[in-house]
């Protein structure tokens, strides 16, 4: 019984939140890795792209709610998600047309594009603040829990409760669907394969008659969808704040690099690696251990390796350790 209780505590505070956070990071890292693979630079504006998509989705949600439309027990934001994706698509395609295209024609060095993306980051950050301000926005509605702690205790008779929030389930389900769609697209469709070919060997792709402009356009559209989805899921799970999204850049980059930049599978693995290490290292293990050891040996301290404020430090430490042992990341990079 104690063992089961320990597992429930673990699930409640580590596994479920870790899965949800990992899925969010993975979706974010997928966007970063696609741009890295195909446009060949790390996009510093990615966090702000996520924020923009979420902001538009929030506006859409508010509009739907004003019209009296809800999604039943599910958050209305899911209905507004396509609006957010469409808006972000327009933003990214517009940015590419206005900003990035010029540098592609000039065959600019990728590092110049990195600096350009810093400029875009400033602009997008400003735009998001224009649109929605700097405050916290909570836009999750509908049923709060799929499984409540009390319901779980009553049903199982265990001392510990397991609460699973709707947003956590939605996060994992939506992320799985998005990932499956992405992999299907990249591996089974003509355009998807041409994107992989372009990433692998640009000259040969051009030689094969692949249209680079189309590849780039499709990439931005997919990135818009991924970034918006990631942003909305994160916002539903926690809350929306422009600055937090900007700060997500570090764990997202860490996830993409740990997995092997340019490799979508790696981005997903990296997202979960980073998320679980953050959660486990900053979790106070006392209650889990208390169930597992005899009563008189129960620990006095919190058994917390590091305070939660150091979660960025954890992403970074994992990153360094992985790079020391596997310089190209867990999965070999570059094979979008």
């Amino acid at each position: 019984m104690d063992f089961l209780n320990a597992i429930v505590v673990l699930a409640n505070f580590v596994i479920v939140p870790g899965l949800a956070y990992g899925a969010q990071l993975a979706l974010g890292a997928l966007g970063v890795t696609l741009i890295y693979g195909i446009l060949r630079f790390s996009n510093f504006a990615h966090g702000d792209t996520m924020a923009f998509g979420t902001a538009i989705t929030i506006l859409g949600t508010n509009a739907l709610l004003a019209l009296g439309i809800t999604f039943g027990p599910l958050p209305t934001a899911l209905l507004a998600l396509p609006i957010g994706i469409a808006g972000t698509c327009l933003l990214l395609l517009g940015t590419d047309w206005l900003v990035y295209k010029f540098y592609r024609v000039k065959k600019a060095a990728p590092v110049i594009l990195v600096i350009v993306s810093m400029g875009v980051m400033f602009v997008m950050n400003g735009i998001v603040r224009f649109i929605i301000g700097v405050g916290d926005v909570n836009f999750a509605d509908g049923e709060r829990f799929v499984v409540t702690a009390r319901g779980f205790r009553d049903a199982t008779g265990l001392a510990e409760g397991l609460a699973i929030r709707t947003t956590q389930v939605i996060t994992v389900v939506v992320a799985l669907i998005a990932m499956a769609l992405l992999f299907w697209f990249l591996n089974k469709t003509r355009t998807g394969k041409s994107m992989r070919a372009f990433s692998d060997n640009e000259d040969l792709a051009l030689l094969s008659g692949i249209n680079p402009d189309w590849v780039v356009k499709v990439t931005w559209m997919i990135v818009a969808a991924l970034a918006t989805t990631a942003g909305v899921l994160y916002g539903l799970d926690k809350s929306f704040k422009a600055f937090t999204y900007f700060q997500l850049l570090l764990p997202i980059f860490a996830a993409a690099i740990v997995g092997g930049l340019g490799n979508p599978l790696g981005a997903i693995a990296g997202g979960f690696v980073i998320a679980f290490s953050e959660v486990t290292v900053t979790y106070a293990w006392r209650r889990v251990v208390a169930y597992l050891v005899p009563e008189d040996m129960a620990p006095d301290g919190l058994l917390q390796l590091m305070s939660t404020d150091y979660k960025f430090a954890v992403s970074f430490a994992i990153l360094i350790v992985v790079l020391l042992f596997k310089p190209t990341g867990l999965f070999k990079g570059q094979s979008v």
Binding site: S42, V99, F102, V111, I112, V114, I115, V116, M118, G119, V120, M121, F122, V123, M124, N125, G126, I127, R129, F130, G133, V134, F243, F246, Q247, L249, L250, F253, A254, I257, L305, S307, D309, Y310, F312, A313, S315, F316, L319, I320, L323, L324, P327, T328
Partner: protein
């Protein structure tokens, strides 16, 4: 345009901006902008050294600046009475043990033969070391943080002159840069950018959470100053008399006097660093750096140790950022870990370097002054613009409020647009590299 004319012209333009600010908004505001502008110019100088002359991508400027700020606290603030007896030594010994653990693990990794034994030994060192470290460190921290937490609760500093903290800030930043550079530049491929991004966040997290060190988000206030306080001047009859003889209000005059004193100090530091940077870059060392940047393979073939040179310039550039950080905290008179944000302290410095002209020290200085002026002035200008645009609307209408509110966010937008315009139409910046 000939750079010999262009450079003085652009600096003249910045001078006009500053003087104009003085005339329109008062000399106190102008000097306030100038002082931060000078500090920004020093930060830009540091980043320019790394990016402009070695192509190193440092996006952790914020971290080095914050370390400089910490140096100001550690050097100049008075020690908290009883803190060292209560737990200071525990903390110190704990930190030494922690460092020893890491060194031990690294040694085990490098000295022992590959295999299960090595892995187990390394893990054992890490786990035992961590437990011992926490056992020694935690009581010390608790004891120190328990001392009068509302006003101190930290170890305090060495009570030395705060000017001393400027070189110390540089040293602290250099130390951090050495660790980062050693790890990130030593990896098979170069991963410096993400390493600096990560370490900057970690440094800020430490400052925010290690109350025994920096009082965390409670801030350290009332740091000593290298120049007299305004209030002292206002009480000094000689000063008041002199101010009145110039026809100035003594309160305003005291503000201007102290700010000018700061400006003098900052200009001295800036000129020394600028002179050193220019000298270094026209020396054989500087030529070698540029040779490495322009053709690394050839430089390697000529027997240059590229990694060591990169490490060297990375440390130097970071140290300059650290000095600037200590200067900034000195100017503010307080350390506020919560105020360090990457957009302001990392990416804005990049805007300065890019707009000013990567690879040109004068460009970096110009960028620092110009962009800082703009950063401060965009908000009032945006507000005025919005008020003008919305003047036709009824007062208090939703749209008008929205537009006036939006002016607050003009800053970031303007910086981004400016950076993109310069990158596109003048990719070498306002004062290009020679």
């Amino acid at each position: 345009m000939n750079p010999a004319i262009r450079t003085p012209l652009l600096f003249g333009f910045v001078a006009v901006l500053m003087i104009g600010t003085g005339i329109v908004q008062g000399w106190n505001s102008a000097l306030l902008i100038l002082n931060m502008g000078l500090i920004s110019a020093i930060m830009a100088l540091g980043v320019n050294l790394q990016w402009g002359f070695a192509g190193l991508f440092n996006i952790g400027v914020m971290g080095f600046v914050a370390l400089g700020g910490l140096a100001a606290v550690l050097v100049a603030s008075p020690p908290t009475p009883g803190a060292w007896q209560a737990g200071g030594w525990n903390i110190l010994i704990g930190l030494v043990l922690g460092a020893a653990t890491v060194v031990g693990a690294v040694l085990a990794q490098s000295r022992m033969q590959k295999g299960r034994l090595r892995t187990i030994t390394t893990l054992a060192i890490l786990i035992v070391g961590f437990v011992v470290y926490r056992a020694v460190f935690d009581p010390g921290v608790n004891a120190v943080e328990a001392i009068n937490p509302s006003v101190s609760g930290h170890l305090g500093g060495l009570n030395l002159p705060i000017l001393l903290s400027w070189p110390v800030g540089g040293l602290l930043a250099a130390g951090a840069a050495w660790i980062i550079g050693k790890t990130a530049l030593g990896l098979r491929s170069d991963y410096l950018a993400i390493a600096t991004l990560g370490i900057a966040e970690i440094i800020i997290a430490v400052l925010k959470n290690e109350d025994w060190l920096s009082r965390g988000v409670k801030n350290v206030i009332g740091l000593p100053r290298p120049v007299p306080f305004e209030i002292e001047l206002q009480q000094d009859p000689a000063f008041v008399e002199r101010a009145l003889s110039f026809g100035m209000n003594p309160v305003t005059a005291s503000g201007i006097y102290t700010k000018l004193a700061y400006a003098g100090l900052f200009v001295i530091v800036l000129l020394i660093l600028l002179w050193m940077a220019e000298k270094a870059l026209n020396s054989p060392w500087g030529r070698m750096m540029r040779a490495i940047r322009d053709n690394e393979t050839a430089a390697r073939a000529m027997g240059k140790d590229v990694t060591a040179r990169h490490l060297q310039i990375f440390i130097l550039g970071s140290a300059i950022c650290g000095i600037a950080g200590a200067m900034m905290t000195t100017l503010d008179g307080q350390l506020t870990p919560g105020s360090y944000q990457p957009l302001r302290f990392t990416f804005l410095v990049w805007v300065m370097v890019i707009v000013g002209g990567s690879g040109n020290n004068w460009g970096a200085v110009l960028g620092g002054l110009l962009i800082w002026w703009l950063w401060v002035q965009v908000e009032p200008m945006g507000l005025a613009l919005m008020q003008l645009l919305s003047s036709g609307l009824t007062d208090g209408s939703a749209l008008q409020t929205r537009m006036v509110d939006a002016a607050a966010h003009m800053r970031l937008l303007t910086m981004g647009v400016l950076m993109l315009i310069v990158l596109r139409f003048s990719p070498r910046g306002l004062i290009p590299e020679r």
